[in-house]
């Protein structure tokens, strides 16, 4: 080797040693992930969080963001903030990292500090995984934080700036109503209702505007639309944002996986008790002595699977765990009824179901009770339960805006029990929404016959006596 080459090698070695030393020193002086001191609320969590932390410690921005999301899903806002901050520093264009950091600061009560970060999100390329992305939420959060800081004017400006985001426009309309600027508020609400005709809060706000404007009849009808509407304006996005992270780790992740493999109806071939049993047993062992909510959840799962295969010992064991957890609710009564069925103790099973139906009525329970009453020849009780089964089916259909189905169920309920005030009242509401004025009037009259001081039925009868009121769907 020539002296010149040798000298070059020596120089290269010196440079490499210096660089390597710098890298190793930098690495040794890095801040490790901040993790909660106690993660014992979930027996699986500590190991999974430490694995995420180890990946972040070795990795880059995506790994730090994953750690942040994992911690956020466990409610460790402050620790998640630290992880998101590292991710945002490593990848300044990553809107998810910066948004996560801003959100954690926001939820830990430092509104003024979080708003500049949310504002920076507005300049970053948005997510493409979903239609809305993060930027409208960031701008909405700025407005929400300004309200939390009592800066109502600033919040109004932020909501105005967020013109294409429905929750922001809803908040803007609310501020206008609060300030007495009803004209602009009603224009916004009407415009939003054209986009979302069954948005519950919009009808609620419309009713408030109409009450403030001295139009009580119109306000009453807006309340009727509120009652019918099921679409919720996403005025508090926090849980929707965090929810996907809550089931990524620990017991919630495992339970979600098990439940996803457990079709609700017994007899479904995918509902293989043997396979699920193998998955549930280890989980039960993990939480056997723990005071955690998953203990009762697992017990109800075990009870349902045991009932599928008429496993009396399995149901008894499940009941024992539920009792240990202290739950004395309707689900526990139904589980015990399943046990009594399999022991041939029909009278006790029926009594338990009667108690469960009195606590938490459902169409399924009332149907079952109707069948049991028929079997023992108690026709009056059977008719009562049939009526209530149809009534609850009607309400379920109403909540899904299936008005014809709902009206049919309420009519059927009235066939079995024509003295149930709520059935006639709901039938009147359905008929109104379907634009069938005469039918609505008849139903509300039945209510008034049964309860002459029924305030709302009397109000409906007053309103329906006015020619202009027919119902939103024509008629």
């Amino acid at each position: 080797m020539s002296p010149a080459l040798r000298s070059m090698l020596v120089i290269a070695i010196v440079v490499e040693l210096a660089a390597g030393g710098w890298f190793l020193a930098s690495r040794a002086l890095r801040a490790p992930p901040a993790l909660p001191a106690d993660m014992s609320d979930d027996p699986l969590l500590a190991a999974e969080i430490h694995e995420l932390a180890a990946k972040a410690d070795r990795g880059g921005a995506p790994e730090w963001r994953m750690l942040g999301e994992g911690l956020l899903g466990q409610g460790a806002y402050a620790h998640a903030e630290s992880a998101f901050a590292r991710a945002a520093a490593l990848a300044p264009q990553d809107i998810d990292a910066l948004f996560g950091q801003a959100f954690c600061i926001d939820r830990t009560g430092r509104m003024a500090a979080s708003n500049p970060l949310y504002r920076r999100c507005l300049d970053l390329p948005d997510r493409t995984e979903d239609a809305v992305g993060r930027r409208p939420f960031a701008l909405y959060a700025i407005g929400r934080n300004l309200l939390r800081l009592d800066d109502v004017q600033g919040a109004e400006a932020a909501f105005r700036e967020n013109a294409s985001f429905l929750p922001a426009q809803f908040q803007l309309a609310k501020l206008l109503v609060r300030d007495g600027r009803l004209g602009e508020a009603v224009r916004i609400v009407d415009d939003l209702l054209r986009q979302l005709p069954l948005a519950l809060e919009l009808h609620q706000l419309k009713a408030r505007i109409l009450e403030a404007a001295g139009a009580p009849a119109e306000a009453f009808l807006a309340r009727a639309m509120e009652e019918r509407s099921a679409h919720l304006v996403e005025s508090n996005f926090s849980t929707d944002y965090v929810r996907p992270f809550t089931t990524r780790l620990g017991m919630p992740r495992v339970l979600q996986e098990v439940e996803s493999r457990l079709p609700p109806m017994p007899g479904d071939p995918r509902r293989d008790p043997a396979v699920l049993e193998r998955e549930i047993a280890p989980l039960e062992a993990l939480v056997a002595e723990a005071r955690v909510p998953q203990r009762a959840t697992l017990a109800f799962l075990r009870g349902a699977l045991a009932a599928d295969v008429d496993d009396v010992a399995g149901i008894t064991a499940a009941l024992g765990i539920v009792d240990t957890a202290g739950d004395r609710g309707a689900s526990r009564l139904e589980l015990e009824a399943l046990l009594r069925d399999r022991m041939g103790d029909d009278a006790t099973a029926t009594a338990l179901r009667e108690r469960a139906a009195a606590m938490a009525p459902s169409p399924q329970l009332h149907r079952r009770l109707a069948e049991e009453c028929e079997r023992r020849g108690d026709e009056a009780a059977a008719r009562h339960h049939r009526a209530r089964a149809h009534f609850h089916l009607g309400k379920a259909a109403y909540r899904r805006n299936r008005l014809e189905d709902a009206l049919r169920e309420f009519r059927e309920a009235a066939v079995h029990d024509d003295r149930h005030v709520a059935t006639w009242y709901r039938a009147g509401e359905m008929a109104y929404h379907l634009g069938r004025r005469a039918e609505a009037v008849e139903a509300f009259r039945r209510v008034a016959d049964l309860e002459p001081d029924h305030e709302r039925a009397l109000r409906w009868l007053d309103l329906l006596a006015t020619a202009a009121v027919s119902g939103p769907d024509g008629g």
Partner: protein, 438 residues
């Protein structure tokens, strides 16, 4: 190539390779970064309290869900009991103090689907004490018609159950009073719901049934305290709404079952988390004020104390004008109760926290606010916060009263253990003053 040359060449390759291999395994020599902390703790109360758990059987393996506690003479024997709504056990329970100082629990009524509040009142005027129960129907957010008002009628054979109101959303509170002056008890009902709710008063028809009348439509009604707020001789109603809007309303009784609605207080901060409403004459001026605990973060999966959490005193200035004063900053405040804690003749306030920052074990779970009176006649009443205890955590209900019959005001609180951490928890806990008070 000499051996030395070969070593040099090898080193040129080995140094970066070794560095790359070693790098991920290098341990950090620095501590993790500090993370944000919050929450509040206060100087220890000059009155030393002794904590006593009033445990239900098997409770050490439960996650207790106590929604309401009160100190009340349920059986009319002249001594107070602790009555609690147990949403996990779906029942109303009472705790009695034995002559040996020990406590026993007794189920008053079961099969109550998530009871939220129990009001002890002689509703039928037969001289005994009935219980009217607000049935939430679901502890979790729900817009379903799962709420009810149930009456547990006291009879010589025990309590007989009647449903007074159903087919409504989650009911959070029910109070009884004669609103229409006909000499029989009517009801005021807070239907919290979730996205939809309402406030009702229910006229007693006199035959055991009630006719509902709507006072306000909107979600989030928590409590319906009743008092003669305007001093005109009849019972008025107040409520706090705490979902989309954060508002306190009054319903002025105009006679003959007519009420006029009045907005008493509001904030644009829809994140505020109003958590209850208590009526009491805090300043001793002869009219009833309102105490507003603030700190409900149940809209988040996991909560954190916020700078606006604490307690407001809405001072009744007359003519339905209520002036707000901030009197405490306790993080996650969920409940307030009023009583003369220090025995000096004025009303103090007890607060319980559901969501202080529980990572810090000294943060307060229960505090009391000493009423120090007015410095000048035109100045607001001053309050000083004293810490009673840092445990147990997740408290959502608190009551003040003389539980042990020693003439001093005791405190009782209940825990709603829905959220992490699942440690330092209890169902019903009492605190008895043992020193420092008259």
């Amino acid at each position: 190539m000499t051996r030395r040359d070969r070593l040099l060449a090898l080193a040129v390759v080995a140094i970066p390779l070794g560095t790359a291999i070693l790098l991920p395994a290098v341990p950090s020599l620095r501590p993790p970064p500090l993370v944000a902390t919050a929450g509040s703790s206060y100087p220890a109360s000059p009155i030393a309290f002794e904590r006593m758990p009033l445990a239900l059987p098997g409770e050490d393996r439960h996650l207790p869900l106590i929604t309401h506690v009160q100190v009340v003479d349920l059986d009319g024997d002249g001594a107070a009991e602790v009555v609690a709504c147990d949403a996990l056990g779906h029942r109303v329970v009472r705790f009695d103090r034995g002559s040996d100082g020990g406590w026993t629990s007794l189920t008053v009524a079961e099969d109550l689907h998530v009871p939220a509040h129990a009001t002890v009142i002689d509703i039928d005027g037969d001289g005994d004490r009935d219980i009217v129960v607000a049935i939430l129907g679901d502890i979790l957010p729900s817009d379903a018609d799962v709420g009810r008002v149930e009456l547990l009628e006291s009879t010589p054979r025990g309590y007989v159950r009647h449903v007074l109101l159903e087919d409504v959303r989650r009911v959070a509170d029910v109070q009884a009073g004669d609103f229409d002056g006909d000499g029989i008890m009517d009801l005021a009902v807070a239907i919290f719901g979730y996205s939809r709710g309402e406030v009702l008063w229910m006229r007693n028809r006199g035959d055991g049934t009630f006719a509902p009348r709507q006072l306000l439509s909107g979600p989030g009604a928590i409590h319906v305290p009743m008092r003669d707020f305007d001093g005109d001789g009849d019972l008025d109603i107040a409520t706090v709404m705490s979902q989309d809007d954060e508002e306190v309303w009054g319903f002025e009784n105009r006679g003959d079952g007519r009420f006029e609605r009045r907005l008493l207080w509001r904030t644009a901060n829809f994140d505020q988390g109003s958590a209850g409403l208590v009526a009491a004459d805090l300043d001793g001026d002869g009219d009833d004020d309102l105490v507003l605990p603030v700190g409900d973060n149940l809209e988040d999966f996991d909560a954190f104390p916020q700078p606006y959490h604490g307690c407001l005193w809405l001072e009744n200035d007359g003519d339905w004008s209520f002036r707000p004063h901030r009197i405490a900053d306790l993080g996650g405040t969920y409940a307030a109760a009023v009583g003369d804690v220090d025995g000096d003749g004025d009303l103090d306030v007890a607060l319980a926290s559901m969501d202080n920052d529980w990572r810090n074990p000294v943060n307060a779970a229960v505090v009391w606010l000493e009423n120090r009176g007015r410095e000048r006649s035109d100045a607001p009443v001053r309050f000083r916060t004293w810490q009673v205890d840092a445990d147990p955590i997740h408290l959502v209900t608190v009551a003040a009263g003389d539980v042990d019959g020693d003439g001093r005001t005791d405190l009782v609180a209940g825990g709603l253990n829905l959220r992490r951490p699942y440690r330092r928890i209890a169902g019903v806990t009492a605190w008895f003053p043992r020193s420092g008070a008259p």
